[in-house]
């Protein structure tokens, strides 16, 4: 029974990776414009994130220190500022988009404009962080996030041609509209492989008290969690391919994304879409804020934990308070949540090298990981992801300018 509880951390993190506003937006845009042909990018993102999470989880379980701790300890303060700055800027954009996602869902549910919802949503998130323990945040998000299964139900009800889906899961080159194809590919990868995810996972492993005994749980959690999240993202792509593509609808508002579930499942689909958007984005909000506060606190050596009363970790508590309230501002002043999301995804993709490359050094350090350093498979995957991250860095800005929506 205990093991299933541990899987919650993997599920929560993967929800943050695959079912939050970025993935919903990018997967459905991809499905609407290219049918199943970009599904392989989701597979690539899922596998990459799975490997990265397993590694930062193993790092925490064996060394009893988080990835952020080790970034400061092993590379010094001067280097640490680089990933810190990159993660702060990029994750802040994503955080603003997540608040935007919740706000849009509430607008669709109540008719009250999204910009009015930003600050109340941020305050509710803050209140949960203030009073809730890590377990509550983690398991609450994982359980409520199960509502996202509606995407699988919707996709199945649309009766996709599975051979065609299978072909989409294999890498393919675009025939036309090449710039747009690769732009969406970059966005999907930015939505899937976000640094705050493996930073959060690493800190979460310490919050949950993982030790060397948990290495197996870590693998299962990272694997199953991502299978769950990635699978549902593929379902949202399939649904978009079958509902939006035939109507040649190019997504530029969240209301259009709602059609993806409203079409196969009617009113219930629409309601569950709103619930999914609301819950998964809210969960991601909490996750990103915590990831940022963790990274600051661990890098500077402050007291930190979601299980401590705020009075015991004042700087940590102040950090998440300030961040969540600041992140509500862009949406509160009326910036388009979908545009915010698209920019945040590409920025994330471009920022990956500074958090992926140092991991390669740490995962091969026997002082930190004892006999649990990377084997050839993990190292191979990490080198591939590192090279991928450099390609994304180079391609991101040109593609955004050429084909950004």
């Amino acid at each position: 029974m205990k093991k299933w509880g541990e899987v919650a951390l993997g599920v929560v993190t993967s929800i943050g990776g695959f079912l939050e506003v970025g993935s919903i937006a990018t997967s459905t845009q991809a499905g609407a414009e290219f049918g199943y042909r970009l599904a392989w990018v989701l597979v690539l993102g899922t596998l990459s994130l799975g490997f990265l999470m397993e590694m930062t989880g193993r790092l925490a379980a064996v060394s009893q220190r988080t990835y952020a701790d080790l970034l400061r300890e092993r590379f010094g303060y001067r280097f640490f500022l680089l990933p810190l700055a990159a993660v702060l800027v990029v994750s802040f954009l994503v955080l603003a988009s997540e608040i935007g996602g919740v706000s849009i869902a509430l607008q669709m549910a109540t008719g009250i404009s999204f910009s009015w919802w930003a600050i109340p949503v941020a305050l509710l998130g803050w209140a949960l962080l203030w009073r809730g323990t890590f377990g509550i945040v983690e398991k609450g998000t994982a359980l409520l996030g199960l509502v996202a299964i509606v995407f699988a139900v919707g996709a199945l009800k649309l009766h996709p041609a599975w051979p065609a889906v299978g072909r989409g899961l294999l890498p393919s080159m675009p025939r036309d509209d090449r710039a747009r194809y690769w732009y969406l590919a970059v966005s999907i990868l930015g939505a899937s492989i976000s640094p705050y995810l493996y930073l959060f996972y690493s800190a979460g492993a310490i919050e949950d008290g993982w030790t060397i005994e948990h290495l197996g749980v870590n693998r299962v959690t990272a694997g199953l969690g991502n299978l769950f999240g990635g699978g549902l993202a593929v379902c949202s792509l399939i649904a978009a391919a079958l509902v939006l593509a035939p109507r040649e609808i190019r997504v530029d508002r969240y209301e259009q994304i709602a059609m993806v579930l409203a079409s196969p499942l009617g009113r219930a689909g629409f309601v569950l879409f709103l619930a999914t958007l609301c819950i998964t984005c809210f969960g991601s909000t909490l996750e990103i804020v915590l990831a940022l506060a963790y990274t600051m606190a661990q890098g500077f050596g402050w007291n930190w934990s979601e299980n401590l009363k705020p009075g015991k970790d004042a700087r940590f508590a102040t950090t998440y308070t300030v961040l969540i309230l600041l992140a509500a501002v862009p949406v509160a002043i009326g910036l388009n949540p979908l545009t915010l999301t698209n920019v945040a995804m590409v920025a994330t993709a471009a920022s990956l090298p500074v958090t992926v490359i140092p991991l390669f050094v740490l995962m091969n350090d026997g002082d930190i990981l004892l006999k649990h350093t990377n084997g050839w498979l993990s190292n191979g995957a990490l080198v591939f992801i590192a090279l991928l991250s450099v390609v994304l860095l180079v391609a991101a800005v040109p593609l955004q300018l050429l084909a950004g929506g």
């Binding site: 092993r74 590379f75 010094g76 280097f79 140092p358 390669f360 050094v361 091969n364």
Partner: protein, 109 residues
């Protein structure tokens, strides 16, 4: 007796030259040991670890680049000297000098 106080990070990364003025690498590490003194216990530096990366030496001044390079470029040109404190002349902290020639220095295994 001139006593000076310097910060550790003013030493780490500095280029070290031997008695002939030849560049032998950069300071990577300072190893300290506990010594029993009359006025209490003190940690004193016993050895300097100086590492050289061959042609990559010019870019390998940051800790992360050093560690990355060491992982990738395994054995070939990386050499590390263990230099006892008595052989290190720190009268000019920005330009540390070893009071022996390079060939007399002990290499780390």
């Amino acid at each position: 007796m001139s006593a000076r106080t310097i910060a550790l990070d003013q030493l780490v990364g500095r280029v070290v030259r031997d008695a002939d003025g030849r560049r032998i690498g950069r300071i990577e590490e300072l190893e300290a040991e506990l010594v029993l003194e009359s006025h209490g216990n003190d940690y004193v530096v016993t050895r300097f670890g100086v590492g050289r990366f061959g042609i990559l030496d010019t870019i390998a001044s940051g800790r992360i680049v050093q560690q990355l390079v060491r992982r990738l470029v395994r054995a070939t040109s990386y050499v590390r000297y263990e230099i006892p404190w008595e052989w290190m002349d720190l009268s000019d902290v920005a330009h540390p000098r070893v009071t022996r020639r390079e060939r007399e220095l002990a290499q780390a295994p």
